[in-house]
Symmetry: C2
């Protein structure tokens, strides 16, 4: 998504050229290209698919809507298996219209996971609950903290359900470092994603994530925490940013690779 | 601030007419009108000043900037005393440019409070730390949760330092209800403010607070929590909203009074 202006063949070729060993894919471009074809393309480039984004949106109260969401998540799990990735990222969903009960919505997510987790487990796919920043709590994801995500994940085997640690969403939370440690000890860190926090936020707040190094987040410190928690999986950069998307994709990919290397190499005084 | 299009005399007169017993004031219009004159105006209308907004911005690392902030906060405390309110709301401040250490910034707030709290206490003014929504953590307020605010306040006597419970900032936080209970037990709920959460957020995210009843927050439930915690002080409505500010101020004030009465009267199923 960071360089969504690049088509899958260009993305794969340039990642391989730059020594980027894997890519996180989103369902829409994969479906447009063809799931099997995308799997072959990435494999032939010598890359892995780190994660598939995204399943989720499991908070509906309407039975038909809920059934459609479960079907769609099973399809996403199948796609993940075909792509050869072991991780499907879940964005849990917001409050239904007129609903004001965050706790109830979180319980509906747990109910849905109970149906989806075994299905995923049978296919070698782990569901990774991504807490989204609290500014998305009403309309996108009622799971706002790593503690909440972990509280949901812990009801299931770690081989089936875990969490995403994304700096953009949790950087402000003084309880997140302890949650990272706990998630790591349980083998539940299924993805580690980076984006920087910059202001002012744009209207709608979705597409204002900062290039690594441009913002307020101490990336090196978060990497130390995730490392210390025992995570040795891929680290993804996931930027949603209209200004970055307006630039040349290859140039942006190269800049992102440089920023990543610089930020995670830097020593941190904290 | 909800009806900032109304000048202080109109605000006071219409609040008195509508049976609104008190108003929270902001420093800028008070200073423009004259602090003593504003105090007399509100008093003569038969109203109380519930709180003064705002002090704070205590996170500077530069010594001169820090000294200016402390001076300004002492002036705000003096103004609160003159206005006859017992509560000065603090917005703590964001990260200095280039700083990525939220914990360090929070400690600088504690250091500043150690200087300001006795000064406030001597003047019968309580400092009320307002946690702001995490979307303001970098540029406006590094205190993002009620737990963090309470953790700072607890270092000082409750007669000097407490917290603001503002639905807009804490509604998403599953730990906030317990923090409300703890704050109440300690006598540290110094202000209770209402605004509703609506989306999409506008650019800059500052002026998108929703009219009571328009959004995702269960106001009646929050009032029950604050009541149960023993709070019996004023309840303020504090809306920052460009669309509301563009409307006729008297009409908006009347609407807000109606919405307030309706929302807090409603029963809640949770």
């Amino acid at each position: 998504m960071t360089v969504r202006q690049l088509a899958l063949p260009d993305l794969s070729a340039h990642c391989a050229r730059l020594g980027i060993p894997g890519i996180g894919l989103w369902r829409e471009p994969v479906q447009a290209y063809g799931v099997e074809a995308a799997a072959k393309l990435v494999r032939d480039a010598g890359l892995t698919v780190t994660t598939l984004c995204r399943g989720g949106f499991l908070t509906a109260t309407d039975p038909a809507e809920r059934a459609r969401a479960l079907d769609d998540n099973r399809a996403a799990i199948d796609e993940a298996e075909t792509l050869g990735t072991d991780t499907l990222v879940l964005v849990s969903g917001g409050l239904p219209a007129g609903d004001r009960d965050l706790g109830g919505a979180r319980e509906r997510i747990a109910d849905a996971l109970a149906e989806l987790a075994p299905y995923a487990g049978e296919r070698g796919v782990r569901l990774a609950i991504e807490p989204l920043h609290p500014m998305f709590a009403s309309d996108r994801c009622v799971v706002s903290t790593l503690d909440q995500a972990l509280g949901l994940a812990e009801r299931f085997p770690a081989s089936q359900v875990g969490v995403v640690v994304d700096t953009y969403h949790i950087w402000w939370d003084d309880r997140a470092p302890a949650a990272v440690e706990r998630a790591g000890a349980q083998g539940r860190i299924h993805s580690f994603q980076l984006a920087d926090w910059i202001t002012p936020l744009p209207a709608g707040v979705l597409n204002g994530r900062g290039q690594i190094g441009d913002g307020a987040i101490d990336m090196a410190r978060w990497r130390e925490r995730v490392d210390a928690a025992g995570y040795d999986g891929p680290i993804e950069v996931e930027l949603f940013n209209d200004e970055l998307w307006a630039r040349d994709g290859v140039e942006l990919l190269e800049e992102t690779a440089r920023r990543y290397a610089h930020a995670l190499k830097a020593t941190s005084p904290h």
